[in-house]
């Protein structure tokens, strides 16, 4: 299964990805990037009518009935982005949210590329950041044109008119609905000067409005990809070679074909698909197959070997990702040193909707109905597999039942198209949970070795070695010439803590037998875990309060200081706890936001952990929908907590050992308190939130565990050290 080529050049892609993962640099980079984004450019030359294929018609259409359609460049996977984007347009267009319908943008890099990612995708917590200006501009442009059209018709000055609730009001009681004005407005030249509202003028933005997609998600009416049905469709399910890189030698499908309901058995290079009238029959058919796999070169690989390779790599120098001062000299002259090695496990995404895709391949065209974070890549892979031209492939994007980065990959789409190509009818491919978990693309296992130098109490700096697979290289095809994976080193190269000497090394060590990919939190998650664990160790070594120790070193970081101080207050940091209980902190600048989190827990016996409180503070700049921000921090925090406590993907004989939720368990409602979230009032540009809570929680958890038990865990998950939740 080859991957489609990226349309944008690799260099641009890599630059984009670097920024997309968004640390501190974003606050300075954001405006110029948005100003030159393809999406923003596309706002200018358009027309307003329903049929307009380009222009701000790319984002906003107004129908003759006055209904507004917002074409969202970002897909909805639970993060609330459809609502946020609709609010931005509605705010400037002067319509209420219930007058707006949101649809997903078709694949079109030119119109819908993310200014930070530089391709059309939803990920990296960029959605609000990159749509904030162009989508409001699109709404404002449409409003200006509608007002101009009304004013021309009434022969009055536009300044005598205003818009409200999809109606233009003129002098002397004149009024016209948007629907009546569409044709006249479409004929007008597009204004070049489109002033936007000031925050104090917002009517919708900043209000906790009800999400547009949720009413049908409480009554079973929402159709996710797995729920779709098209005429003559059959269900398909696969068994893919249990070892990554292995292939299908042969299969005896005689028994499978006798299973009632089974219609076809289709062979792929590395998999067998059974197609049937229902999923149950597919599984019965798959169970009846006698498959001879060529397990390939990875069939002897075990986790221990991969981990040893990463451990070894963490002592090498790799390439230097960042250098300030002279850490080698500092380490030589230091009065003391402190070194720690941290490990993070391979992780599966395991969204509750497994990988699924509906596809119909015909001789001259192909339709894909699939929830994907990357519609253009979906289109390209279908074109490549079928040999059809991309413009003949129609992608119908769908609401997504959880992604967490998994649907930034399209391997399951490639597989679905390869199956559908061999039959004449549409199929809906549904992976079993076992297929989903054992054929994921995993968050890499990382080993970080970090050594600090001190002169007396003074932190001179540290040397930080990061060893792991490169997701960026896998996704983009290669790393830039300097060999640095900008995602893996993000946050690590810009710690919040002042030091004169900092050297960060990236040592690329690709594991055999296990493909890697983006996982909610990406680089900022991996580095925040290491830095916030390490700084906590330094504080304890110095017998200092972890809060005060951090604050003292956080010079020139007012927003980070502010969230940490607010957290300390909200979480009662200064209130002493009885023995056997403890609190842990973390603070970081991630995805253009500043976040601080606190875990309070109680030991029950040696290894039993009762989590008592979870508190987070976020400064994500101007907030579009505060409910969505809070919900993302609540859920993101528990998502990260679940992985940090329980999760690890292990290989034996090249095969993933975790197969379903009984041996890759997830946190349950009975095991955690609610998450208390506090928003820092802010007029800064919007920052990302979808991954922010996830990125902060693991270090707060291990720091709390240390405070309560005295034991420092440096390898995730906690279950490896025998801990369990009570």
């Amino acid at each position: 299964m080859e991957k489609p080529r990226f349309k944008s050049s690799r260099r641009r892609f890599l630059q984009g990805s670097t920024l997309a993962m968004g640390g501190l640099v974003l606050s300075t980079w954001l405006p110029p990037l948005i100003a030159r984004s393809a999406a923003a450019d596309a706002v200018a030359p358009g027309r307003l009518g329903e049929q307009s294929p380009t222009g701000y018609g790319a984002f906003v259409r107004v129908g003759h009935d006055g209904r507004v359609t917002v074409i969202s460049p970002k897909i909805e996977m639970g993060q609330g982005t459809h609502t946020g984007i609709a609010m931005m347009v509605a705010e400037e267009l002067e319509v209420s949210l219930d007058q707006v319908e949101v649809v997903d943008a078709p694949p079109n890099h030119k119109l819908y590329s993310d200014a930070l990612l530089e391709f059309q995708g939803t990920g990296g917590s960029t959605a609000t950041r990159v749509t904030w200006e162009p989508l409001r501009q699109a709404g404002a442009t449409a409003r200006i044109l509608l007002i101009q059209a009304a004013a021309l018709g009434w022969k009055v000055a536009p300044s005598q008119c205003h818009a409200e609730n999809a109606v233009v009001f003129g002098p002397n009681g004149l009024r016209a609905g948007y629907g009546e004005l569409v044709d006249a407005a479409s004929a007008l030249p597009v204004p070049t000067d489109v002033p936007l509202k000031k925050p104090e003028q917002f009517k919708l933005i900043g209000k906790p409005l009800q999400r547009v997609d949720t009413p049908n998600k409480v009554n079973g009416k929402t159709k996710f990809t797995i729920d779709l049905s098209v005429p003559d469709m059959q269900i398909a399910s696969t068994l893919t070679c249990p070892v990554h890189g292995g292939t299908l030698r042969s299969v005896d499908d005689s028994a499978a074909r006798k299973v009632p309901g089974v219609r076809d058995v289709v062979k792929l290079d590395n998999a067998v698909a059974v197609i049937a009238s229902n999923y149950w029959a597919c599984q019965q058919g798959l169970n009846a197959l006698k498959i001879d796999w060529d397990l390939g070169a990875n069939a002897s690989i075990n986790s221990a070997e991969l981990e040893q390779a990463l451990q070894d790599a963490s002592s090498r120098d790799g390439v230097i990702a960042h250098k300030t001062g002279d850490i080698s000299a500092s380490l030589k002259s230091a009065s003391s040193q402190f070194e720690a090695v941290y490990e993070q496990a391979f992780l599966s995404h395991s969204p509750l909707e497994p990988m699924t895709c509906v596809v119909h391949v015909r001789p001259d065209a192909c339709d894909l109905w699939v929830g994907t974070q990357v519609p253009v890549f979906a289109q390209q892979t279908a074109a490549q597999v079928t040999g059809l031209a991309p413009e003949t492939i129609t992608v119908h994007n769908q609401l997504i039942g959880g992604a967490f980065g998994r649907r930034l990959d399209f391997d399951f789409i490639t597989q679905a198209v390869a199956i559908a190509k061999q039959v004449s009818y549409p199929i809906k491919l549904i992976w079993s949970r076992e297929e989903d978990m054992t054929h994921d693309m995993y968050r890499p296992h990382y080993v970080d070795r970090i050594t600090a130098a001190f002169e007396g109490d003074k932190l001179l700096g540290w040397q930080h070695r990061i060893a792991g697979a490169s997701v960026l290289a896998r996704y983009a095809g290669s790393l830039p010439e300097n060999g640095v994976d900008a995602d893996a080193v993000e946050v690590a190269i810009e710690p919040l803590y002042a030091m004169d000497n900092l050297q960060v090394h990236y040592i690329r060590e690709e594991p055999k037998a296990i493909p890697v990919s983006w996982w909610r939190g990406v680089g900022p998650l991996r580095s925040t875990y290491v830095l916030e664990s390490f700084i906590d160790e330094l504080a304890h070594n110095a017998k200092a309060d972890p809060l005060e120790y951090r604050l003292k070193l956080m010079q020139g970081q007012p927003r980070a200081q502010a969230v940490l101080k607010m957290l300390a207050e909200k979480a009662d940091w200064k209130t002493p706890l009885p023995a056997g209980q403890g609190r842990g902190l973390s603070v970081s600048a991630v995805f253009g936001s500043f976040v601080a989190s606190m875990v309070e827990l109680e030991m029950q016996g040696d290894k039993g952990v009762r989590i008592k409180r979870l508190v987070s503070v976020i400064d994500c700049g101007l907030v579009t929908n505060p409910t969505s921000v809070m919900a993302q921090i609540e859920g993101g925090t528990l998502f990260g907590l679940s992985a940090a406590f329980f999760n690890e993907i292990l290989l034996e004989q090249g095969q993933v050992q975790q197969t379903n939720f009984h041996n890759y368990r997830q946190i349950r409602i009975s095991e955690v308190p609610g998450v208390e979230v506090h928003l820092m009032p802010s007029l800064e540009l919007p920052g990302g939130v979808g991954e922010a809570g996830t990125a902060l929680i693991a270090p707060a958890l291990v720091n709390a565990l240390h405070a309560a038990s005295g034991e420092r865990v440096r390898r995730l998950p906690l279950t490896r050290a025998g801990y369990y939740i009570v």
Binding site: D213, P351, E353, I400, G402, R433, R668
Partner: protein, 150 residues
């Protein structure tokens, strides 16, 4: 041929007796509100009611459902408690991706039908079998409590 009573309607289905109720609902009857997540009763997204009790339809053979009253998310809003729970879910903005919420709501309704004044411990016990990967647990608990106190 099996005769099922689903949301008060009799339905005839011609499927093997060991076919799980989930796939009869979804792939035979086209009722897709009930979801598939794990197939081994570990995640709860397939939760339906059998005579008012929350059960995992992914492991319930259709032959065992015959003669019992099956209720699904499609009709739960027709009950008083179901309607209240759905309204509370929206009021508390519980939903993120939404995929697990059919099952969450079915479990919550079964709990509140049996124990209208459910407290935290009862909520934990009744809802522990329903995973949410978006981890909307903070709001699920709040939404149930606001109905139980109503």
């Amino acid at each position: 041929m099996h005769t099922l009573s689903i949301n008060g309607n009799e339905q005839q289905v011609d499927v093997p007796g060991d076919m799980p109720l989930l796939w009869v609902l979804r792939d035979v009857l086209g009722m897709t509100g009930t979801k598939f997540g794990c197939g081994i009763a570990q995640c709860g997204v397939c939760t339906v009611h059998l005579d008012g009790k929350a059960v995992r339809s992914c492991v319930l053979p259709i032959s065992s459902a015959v003669g019992h009253e099956i209720s699904t998310i499609e009709a739960i809003g027709e009950t008083e408690v179901g309607q209240k729970v759905q309204a509370s879910w929206l009021e508390h903005e519980v939903v993120q991706c939404g995929y697990c919420q059919s099952g969450q709501i079915m479990s919550a309704v079964a709990l509140l039908e049996k124990q209208p004044d459910a407290d935290d411990a009862a909520i934990d016990a009744a809802m522990a079998g329903n995973l949410c990967r978006c981890a909307t647990y903070t709001r699920i608990r709040a939404a149930i409590k606001s109905v139980s106190q109503a």
